[in-house]
Subunit: 333 residues, 4 copies
């Protein structure tokens, strides 16, 4: 007997498939349905053998959704909002893994992503970077699950931003290929990615407004430059952040600041040496390290996550656990 | 009949082996000897089958070096200086691929690398970032071949630095594993590197003094933060540079500045989009791209090289060509 | 409260570290000690961050072993036998992950591996390919955990061998680098393995006697050719087996034979299409597929495992579960 | 001034792009045109930056082909035959990289590939495994360039087959992803291939008839089982062949047989130890090794090639050189 039944909508994408896996193996959740569009009718364990979810993907009829207590929506941005609205009307609590409810401001959203499908819900959505908004997540009916880059960058920078130390920041980040979603095309063909490494989105990546919004709420002033790079790995994301603080900072106090900020966090570890993404592979953990550059006064902080776990489906489960009154770590160890 | 005979000393390491390959296939050079310590007696084409150099590695006796016109020394730093001195005494022109003659200031060298083995030669050494010091290289008897990170970073930043625009710079770089040399140990074991990505040398990488020296000569003021990362690839290096210029810069003029700076360079291409390291694999090319971040006024510039070619052995041949009066590109196409 | 305390001896190697991880997270086991030689004093979660085992590696004194109910010994072959003997004298049940007790015949062992350290125990050792020797494992005090290649090959071939169909077999196998253990040297340096693929042990791999012994017990006649290849991945092993059966075989009956053989096995799945090693990564599963080549009458059978899990530490836990009277799958899902 | 002008038709695929690169850099050839369908209008050096071919892809009008002396056609099978016919009518010598003219027998072709577009030319086509058919290639107007697997397998087996030793053979092969061509889809997405290894085409790969035809011509009797596997690398192919010879073979004579067979071949090297595909990366070489399994009497032979070079575009140039009366190695070193 499960405590709650959960629909995963968009279970044929990378994040959705992992969400279905995590729901399926969760001790207190039951997978009510896993839905997909093009792949409806296909078995999920044939599409993603390693996730071992023995169910057939079904088509989601938004007017007659599967009976469930909650839903994780892993649609492409733009397509998610209307489905989220219907599922909420059907009484389900929703974690939206898309970008549709991450930006509070409709015009900011539309400048980046195009017309919004359910702007009336923007006010209800809680930004689900769990460690920063845990109490709000607990009471939320709709959680906007953060993007992968914002998750790592904000966890790396939050302790500094709250102290007013983030006046100006460069975020040089890198992600494995699964972060781009199950997009088919030359760009993510094995031969394009193998033995390669390259910056992208230099002209302005769509995660930037989400990062600046997040930093702004923490007290940062938003002078952010953010450049992601594509890594020849499947899962893993590193945010390397370079902060020019307005005033000098003591190295020991800095370590203490980070340690105390995350001391009680089940999924954030402050580590003494720069972490590698391999350390967090297939986990919901974020490993953070902070250091100073005495020559320039700059603060450097690094955060490593698995982009599909803490950067997408893992954090979705973490949020869902809180929304349903469970322990936050349930099903994620 | 070759025009010049060349010894490659230290040909069992990654850079030295490639140097031996490039000398061997060079239309105007002859490989007089390829030397090694631990691997002496081994055939080079057995140690590095893909380089197809059918010679036996020999021990170098510094007191009785092989007869030759020139030498490429690819020893570890610290060990190179004394050998370089002996080869020069024997009348050979030398390109030193180690770090021993890159820093002009002996105390700066010794702070990073330990005691210097031939400080009397520091004044003779020309810093061989060819595009920046071509005329000096032409007349040099000793060229200090630049480090891989400095090569990419300085080519990315030189046009800005000369215009006085490099007041403050973050260099977030990444290199394939061969950049660390043929070092044996857990850290470069396949299982440690595979599916991983991680910053290192955060506390101060030894290429930093070389970068600040180079920027200083170009007019930069040295407020440099430099953090390298280890990539799960064998060859390839990206320097992603973030510059806060003292005054506003016009985007079009910036492109023009880069284009004109490198217009006549055979090995530097200014490209419109951020390059990938795969584009320069197994070439001596450096691909540079510049962009502005209008939100913050920052300038971003990216340079991709193959760390073993332009970042080591390729540039060594480029320099040797000039020292011997050949066309700079000979044997490198 | 745990049901049993377990020592992992040799926890600094790849298989031993995973064994320590699996014991540590096991609901009914407690990690009594994790021992190592060169790395004693080091924390296991520093050596293998991703395994999250927060203990310090200690030196094992065979004359005064840690108090425990059982031990997993992951020493190099040759070094294991004597330690196993001491731990058994101390009353511990032992799963030996080394090769020391896999071959029943002392002279066969010594022809391949050198002098045996505890030949008096050879008669007590049960060969722990769980699916083939489950009942014996249950009652065993000493289990010889199979090699990674024999595990995959024997699971692929067992249904055929029992039917007397394995008269002559070619096993062309491939393994990720972790299968070679945490051996340091040029051969497993990232740069040697990356973008490479190569046969090895062509003159006779030491897993061959183990495969022929296993096939012999199942009814095969031992005309086995076995060639492994090194894959540029960290974990994963494929055994591709080509059998020339003495008589014609019906394709449908063959599928049914495999399906019925493994129908009740928790860790073996007979799949319709050739599996990929990615499907079994970080699991204790073996995925098997069988097909016929109507042109030649040959039977082809493929088995994919994770060499560190089902091929080493995972199967060790599976065996330990049975020896301790637990459910076989405990701690392995 | 070039000696011959060459069209590369289908230059947007992996093999065609490399062919264009090799023609472009060839000392005696000029690239008359590089054509493509979907990518016409795109620059080749934008699609494949690393090949540095500064030309725009054009549409090929088969009724009005570019003026040229010869053509390399790298179309998908089925689409090539008709274009080849037109180019030949226009007086061009043609190397066809597709499968369309590899099988001499029209019905064998059509059983595997569907209707043939120019069966009247089948009699004119010379099978271009250069080392086996050099004299015929010299005089040919149409060369059918072999498939990548057949190239490696036949070079590995030819010495045995000619001696009547190939009665029964298992070919277990593995190829990098580029061997599948620039096919877009889930299967060759980075995330599908990374850390994976899997057999495919088990039910009968379309290169099998080509291998059996080739072996038959050499004296083999065609009892061939062939299974390819997909490797997580971009370029490289290994054919591991297991032969049960009808009579016993002396190990020393076997080595001598291979050595003498290939002694004068510029692109085949018989090596003492099993080669790795990394050794032949970006070369037109084939490295072959032969060994015996004294326990079973089996002969094992391994051949490593770069599937895009010797397995496609490199061998196309090798053949074209002969057809045009040049040295076979021109432009391939």
């Amino acid at each position: 007997m499960s405590d709650a039944r959960v629909v995963v909508a968009g279970a044929s994408g990378f994040a959705g498939a992992l969400a279905a896996h995590l729901v399926h193996r969760h001790p207190r959740l039951e997978l009510a349905a896993a839905t997909a569009r093009a792949d409806a009718g296909e078995r999920l364990d044939r599409l993603y053998p390693r996730y071992r979810v023995p169910v057939e993907l079904t088509l989601l009829d938004p007017d007659d959704p599967p009976e469930a207590d909650a839903a994780i929506v892993a649609y492409p941005h733009g397509a998610a909002a209307r489905v989220v609205a219907r599922l909420m009307e059907a009484g389900q609590k929703v974690v939206d893994v898309s970008a549709d409810f991450r930006l509070h401001d409709q015009s900011a959203y539309e400048a980046t992503y195009g017309e919004h499908g359910a702007p009336e819900l923007l006010g209800d959505a809680v930004y689900g970077l769990t460690e920063l908004h845990r109490d709000d997540v607990r009471g939320a009916r709709l959680v906007a699950n953060p993007g992968c880059y914002p998750t790592a960058a904000l966890l790396a920078l939050a302790p500094l931003a709250r102290e007013g130390l983030v006046g100006d920041v460069v975020i040089s980040a890198a992600s494995g290929v699964s972060g781009a979603g199950r997009v088919v095309g030359d760009r993510f063909h094995f031969v394009s990615v193998d033995e390669n490494f390259s910056p992208y989105g230099v002209e302005g990546h769509r995660h930037l407004p989400e990062i600046t919004q997040g930093l702004g709420e923490l007290g940062g002033d938003g002078r952010v430059t953010f450049v992601p790079h594509l890594l020849p790995i499947d899962q893993g994301l590193m945010a390397s952040c370079f902060v020019s603080p307005p005033s000098e900072v003591d190295a020991g106090e800095l370590q203490e600041l980070y340690r105390s900020t995350y001391a009680d966090e089940p999924f954030v570890q402050v580590v003494p040496d720069a972490p590698g993404v391999r350390e967090v592979r297939e986990t919901n953990d974020c490993r953070v390290c902070v250091a100073t550059d005495p020559r320039t006064g700059r603060i450097m902080t690094f955060a490593a996550i698995d982009n599909l776990w803490k950067g997408a489906a893992g954090q979705a489960i973490q949020n869902l656990n809180l929304m349903l009154g469970f322990d936050e770590t349930e099903g994620l160890r």
